[in-house]
Amino acid sequence: MATDGLHENETLASLKSEAESLKGKLEEERAKLHDVELHQVAERVEALGQFVMKTRRTLKGHGNKVLCMDWCKDKRRIVSSSQDGKVIVWDSFTTNKEHAVTMPCTWVMACAYAPSGCAIACGGLDNKCSVYPLTFDKNENMAAKKKSVAMHTNYLSACSFTNSDMQILTASGDGTCALWDVESGQLLQSFHGHGADVLCLDLAPSETGNTFVSGGCDKKAMVWDMRSGQCVQAFETHESDINSVRYYPSGDAFASGSDDATCRLYDLRADREVAIYSKESIIFGASSVDFSLSGRLLFAGYNDYTINVWDVLKGSRVSILFGHENRVSTLRVSPDGTAFCSGSWDHTLRTKNYLFVSLQVWA
């Protein structure tokens, strides 16, 4: 009893000191390779000119906050999900709604388009990720074909198909990520390591191998090996929740957006943060980030209703876009980089009891 207590205290103390010394060693190793910041390297790069980016389409139809959206590989269809449980598939060229389904839960925080374009996945407060095949048969009820794939013990915050329709990667408020087989619903791999809710994930571009990055309420961004389930790199420089992570197009780096009002760039081979995108005037959290095709621009949506466009290399803001009337909750660049779509909590039109909430497509 008394001796057990002593033993545990010693173990705690020795483990703590071992953890501290390992952290110190890691910092030392990283510091050795740090000779200069990204914006210094990019000093001689030509500055960017003025940008003309306007809202080209407004997709109206959700009755409540838009929480998530994803592009189809065909570069025109979009799936979006909202607080009231609605999931809608849009043709962004015509702004027509092609499919709509109401989930049995509210706060559908995650949605994703399958690579084939033939299905969508979504989930939220139901703690699940479900797949809906998309059918153009008017006689078929979309909800009837629903397949439950992932089961977490807390809300689903993010989901993404891998390179095929056959596997889905999920992130959850239960602090884990998981890889699932869509057909059988079997758990293929789970990823443990975050100390709090995982809020976002992004798969590495297919050329760079089987890894993905996740961000969480523990302020950490973690890079995982999908086959082994191991965390291979972790970064903890943000000062608050990480709401969004996105790979740089080459796969050698990733950006993050956080409640600490900054976005940051982490280089995977240098194994450290190489840029921070912030301004004293920006005090609201960044909810969603994505790169333009070449990686030169970083689009970030914020809780102060704006979208800031950053020069990734120089670290400066090149444009600020005003188009939403409430916080920007989701933002994705289209697959061929011709446009990006932002979703918001806003009510762009109010007619009697109708609230229209917008997704905007910018180009």
């Binding site: 190793e29 740090h34 025109r76 090996d225 280089d267 081979r269 070449s294 030169r296 290399l313």
Partner: protein, 78 residues
């Protein structure tokens, strides 16, 4: 919280940190160099931007006709 839970949580943290300290020498991907200096890594990020800039519609813009979101509606004179 019981100290038993703290001990196992710390043990996991130590194991994870050991793994990360190890990864400095063994990269998951076959990278050209294990552990790049920031100046080298930054130069490669910059090079990627430059090489792909011309294809980046949001960066350089494309002729209005070829951007489906910027269609010009043509008016026919009757």
């Amino acid at each position: 919280m019981s100290s038993g839970a703290s001990v196992s949580a710390l043990q996991r943290l130590v194991e994870q940190l050991k793994l990360e300290a190890g990864v400095e020498r063994i990269k998951v991907r076959p990278a050209p160099a294990s552990g790049l200096g920031v100046s080298q890594a930054a130069a490669e990020l910059q090079q990627y931007c430059m090489q792909n800039a011309c294809k980046d519609a949001l960066l350089v813009g494309v002729p209005a006709g070829s951007n489906p979101f910027r269609e010009h509606r043509s008016c026919a004179l009757l």
